[in-house]
């Protein structure tokens, strides 16, 4: 066990912090899976409109890897399947019934789990269609279950702005979490790494290699933790999984059920009462936000404000997201704004050029706060990237499409979410994280 101190980075002081108790979500009449959430997957449907499904019934599989299937998060009737351009499956909507029956799986005691073999664990997870909860580094895609990972990494803390507080979400789930850890531990020859904050409720978990980390965002990003604990080398694979998904797997083994519920945060300056909610995977945005918006002109985001996806009231939460953020869409056009000195009541900046009054929480809007310009390297990216990576050079190698250079500059260790703060802080309003993703896609196509 070691303690990691992160200095570079920044905790964005955005208003609308969720309060620390868990409310019950307004009931939803439908849930949906969005196959577009999964990069690099070619979905093939296993159900059609009108079919009856139970919780856990597979809805679609990946044509490239047919044993990879996605479980239905609810029981009921397939209401609609929406297609996008070129008949890409966008949404599979399930109209929920009253009794919410689930498929039954074999339950295990804690001891049983410890005695399972690797193949048995994999069979249970694949059989319950929960394997998509794993993701791999590099590239942050769903891994191939046939290739063993070097290690498995779990980040026990969220540092993204307004993210769900895992200390709250995990408080009553320690036993299920332990069961999940005992199971997935079998899937690697290496170790399972869990990175917590100091004095976390998860610090007594067994069978894992626990490290503690402190420092501003992105210290909670699993990519940053991998970088500081055990470098990812180009030929290696690491699996990552969210702690709430480990709980899901734990419940599958202990109780023999697929419980698709998780705790999310509903927060941001555009939310009337920011809070934590217990919802199911693929929950409709309408049910979560309808009576909780502070105005009509807002931007709703599935995920956090740095990496999330813009959505509408008719939309559903993305598969991996555990927060809903809302910011105002109203932009005040200041007269001669470029000369107005500005204080922390009207401006928020990482570069200390404005008068800072105090640690007030800032009501961010969807304003870009400036127009796109050529990059002027005043180190705004470097100051928020706690990795031994030269972001400027990496960015340029991607623009130049120089695969070899990207690789040697360490793109394998990067993910776009780690660079979101760079885009946030950039005075030229450059989409750094978007370019990093483009580079990763190029690199992935190459290997």
């Amino acid at each position: 066990m070691s303690h990691i101190k992160i200095k570079k980075g920044h905790d964005i002081k955005i208003s609308g912090i969720p309060k620390s108790d868990i409310s019950t979500a307004p009931t939803a009449s439908e849930l949906a899976l969005l196959p577009s959430d999964f990069r690099g997957v070619k979905p093939k449907l296993m159900v059609k409109v009108g079919d009856n499904v139970k919780i856990g019934t597979p809805l679609f599989f990946d044509k490239l890897n047919p044993s990879l299937r996605w479980a239905s998060p609810g029981s009921g009737i397939i209401k609609d399947i929406k297609y996008g351009p070129r008949r890409v499956i966008e949404k599979i909507e399930i109209e929920l019934d009253k009794d919410q029956q689930g498929l039954d799986f074999k339950s295990h005691s804690m001891n049983d789990i410890s005695n399972l073999s690797e193949d048995e664990v994999l069979d249970v997870i694949l059989g319950a269609n929960l394997f998509p909860h794993f993701r791999q580094r590099p590239f942050n895609t769903i891994p191939d279950h046939k290739i063993r990972p070097r290690d498995i990494f779990i980040s026990g803390l969220n540092t993204a702005p307004l993210a769900v507080d895992l200390e709250i979400a995990m408080a009553d789930e320690i036993e299920n979490f332990q069961a999940g850890i005992n199971a997935i531990e079998k899937l690697t020859d290496g170790k399972v790494y869990l990175t917590n904050k100091v004095d976390s409720k998860l610090s007594d978990v067994k069978n894992v290699n626990i490290n503690t980390i402190e420092g501003p965002h992105p210290s909670g990003n699993v990519g940053i933790q991998i970088h500081h604990i055990s470098h990812l080398k180009p030929s290696e694979l690491i699996w990552t999984i969210d702690p709430q998904d480990v709980v899901m797997i734990g419940k599958l083994f202990l109780k023999g059920v697929y419980d698709p519920s998780k705790i999310i945060s509903v927060a941001g300056p555009g939310v009337k009462e920011p809070t934590h909610l217990r919802v199911k995977t693929g929950y409709p945005i309408k049910s979560i936000l309808k009576s909780n918006l502070s105005s009509d002109n807002v931007r709703m985001i599935s995920g956090d404000v740095l990496t999330g996806r813009e959505c509408t009231l008719e939309d559903y939460m993305s598969f991996y997201d555990s927060s809903i953020s809302v910011i105002s869409n109203e932009i005040n056009r200041e007269f001669i704004g470029m000369l107005n000195p500005g204080s922390s009541s009207s401006r928020y900046s990482l570069t200390p050029v404005f008068v800072s009054l105090s640690n007030i929480l800032f009501p961010f809007t969807s304003s870009q706060n400036g127009n796109h310009r050529a990059v002027v390297p005043i180190n705004s990216w470097e100051r928020v990237l706690p990795m031994d990576i030269l972001p400027n050079e990496l960015y340029r190698s991607i623009l130049a499409e120089d695969i070899e250079e990207m690789e040697s500059l360490g793109l394998f260790e990067c993910d776009d979410e780690d660079f979101a703060l760079c885009s946030f802080a950039c005075p030229s309003k450059t989409d750094v994280s978007g370019v990093i993703r483009k580079g990763l896609d190029m690199l992935q196509a190459e290997v």
């Binding site: 570069t351 809007t365 870009q368 706060n369 127009n371 050529a374 050079e393 500059l409």
Partner: protein, 390 residues
Amino acid sequence: MKWLLDYLLKIKPNFDEGQKLNWLYPLYEATETILFSTDAKTKSAPHIRDSIDIKRVMILVVIALIPCYVFGAINVGYQNALSFGFERTWIENLIFGVKTIIPIIVVTFVAGAFWEILFAIVRKHEISEGFLVTCALIPLTMPPSIPLWQLFIATSFGIVIGKEIFGGVGMNIFNPALTARCFIFFSYPSKISGDMVWLVGPDGYSGATALSVPASTSNADAVSLLNGITQFDYSWINLASGWIPGSIGETNKFIIFLAAATLMLMKLISWRVILGGVSGLFAMSYIGNLIAPFSDNSMLSIPPHYHLVMGSFAFGLTFMATEPVTGSHTDTGRLIYGFFVGVLTVIIRSINPAYPEGVMLAILLMNAFASLIDYFVVKVNISKRMARYA
């Protein structure tokens, strides 16, 4: 001011694609975004953005230059009075200086804006705020007696050759303001190479600059030479506080130091370049001092703290060498880059017999080498990573 915004938005469709006035769109965009902060919204994640933008960065650098202008104006008047033997209050000095400087500023901005707008229209890109800084810097590097036509040509050269032909701000290799200065330096060398003092004085009035005093005398100690000059006060404290003839904005080192400190605190310029530059200057001039007893070159005997306040080193290092685009882009690179700016300044000053001042050439030379320094810094970073991967 809502009526103005409403009016601007009303006429905006005239500049859209396919409309008659579309070619003027960059000008419209500049007007709208200078008058009103932008209404651009984020299109993808991250959905929120920092309040800083390039306009703010550039305008802050321009604001940091204002004290240099004010002192420069007073000093231009003071030097003028001194050369004629007048007695004048500082207010009168300021008024005289402002009258001298205003035409210089106007000509620079007219020339700069003309080329910037022309290129924006022809190449269909936004008007970049960078030209504000360039045009604010150019007058400060010029002698107050500069003929305006020379200034116009120099500014045009700086903006076009120094910046626009590379694609504008962010793509240029050489600092455009220094390119303009360099153009004047080599085109009209008899007036501007730094042998003779620059001031608005009587015809035929002349004197040696602080740097050319030791340059023109052999086998002497520089400090005692400087102290022996009676025409101007070349003591250390007066060189630092700037009551000497020179280019408009570079004489007062205290004001420049304050500007540098402010910009460093705001993290708009890199402290590494400044630290590197001052260390380079000190190291090289110290070496010069060691060699001085064995040489007849009096320049070698200038002590480090004199080098710091002589000529335009402080101004060049603060406002020119720290320019983020043309300097090194890596942190280690910035230290090395700054260090060699300092070293080369002393070498050109001391060893090159042609030019008493060397900071401009040192910075331009290092601009050319900045990418090479970065190249090696990146190579080191890569080989360290490869060692970890192996």
